[in-house]
Symmetry: C2
Subunit: 121 residues, 2 copies
DNA sequence: ATTGCTGCAAAAAATTTGCACGAAA
DNA sequence: TTTCGTGCAAATTTTTTGCAGCAAT
């Protein structure tokens, strides 16, 4: 079982407050507010554990370091603005994906990233 | 302008022969057959240049190092088998993606990765 | 009282850079 | 011949690991 440490809570809280996918170093920065002496190794160790538990989801974009977000808020996807590089959540989801599988393949899950221009750009 | 070196050709050829997305080290290994003294720095430098030129596409999956593939063979997506971890190309594409954009957002492009069980697993 | 988790520092892995030389134009 | 690209090694950057002490059960 996982112990409930203040470091673990601080990391969870950082991601919750941010409400968007964060880089490991961004998590460190936010978690430092609650636990000043927290180390980057603790960040990485907890992020990995929490991903394994299914508590977090890893969000990867080409050419960038991995980001992490809470997986609790349901299935969703991401949109990156080509202008400002910001990543937004998309809460709708395409419907016809099972049809894309070559025969013999079974689809259990999917990741979708949309790119374009956001409202402000 | 880019010069045409045997290293650059060897890298292009390695990706062509593989016919699937390769890790930087896999590119090195294949390119070594043609150019034994080729260095990993040359691989990284060329991969980056070729991505910038649009010749290659970077394929990223959560928790794994980036892979590279020729972008010449048209728009397509990827499927990773949860059992054997192999990545396959999918040549079909969902149709209703523009509808997923929140209002004010414009969609110009997208990436889709499917996960599941491949034919052999 | 146990045992897991943390902080620190060092190690490993992944990628980039400086520089002198060789090769493409 | 004039660059640009390469190989090599060293430097960065990103992530992981070893270990002694602290903290959660």
């Amino acid at each position: 079982m996982e112990r409930s440490t203040i470091q673990r809570s601080a990391i969870h809280d950082a991601l919750k407050r941010a409400g968007r996918p964060l880089l490991a170093l961004e998590v460190l920065e936010l978690a430092c507010e609650a636990v000043p002496r927290i180390g980057i190794a603790t960040i990485y160790r907890n992020l990995k554990t929490m991903v394994d538990e299914g508590l977090l989801r890893q969000v990867v974009l080409p050419g960038e370091n991995p980001r992490f977000e809470l997986s609790g808020h349901g299935h969703h996807h991401h949109f990156q603005c080509k202008q400002c590089q910001k990543v937004y959540d998309i809460h709708s989801c395409p419907t016809d994906l099972a049809a894309l599988a070559p025969k013999g393949f079974t689809i259990e899950d999917h990741d979708l990233t949309l790119y374009g221009r956001c409202k402000n750009c």
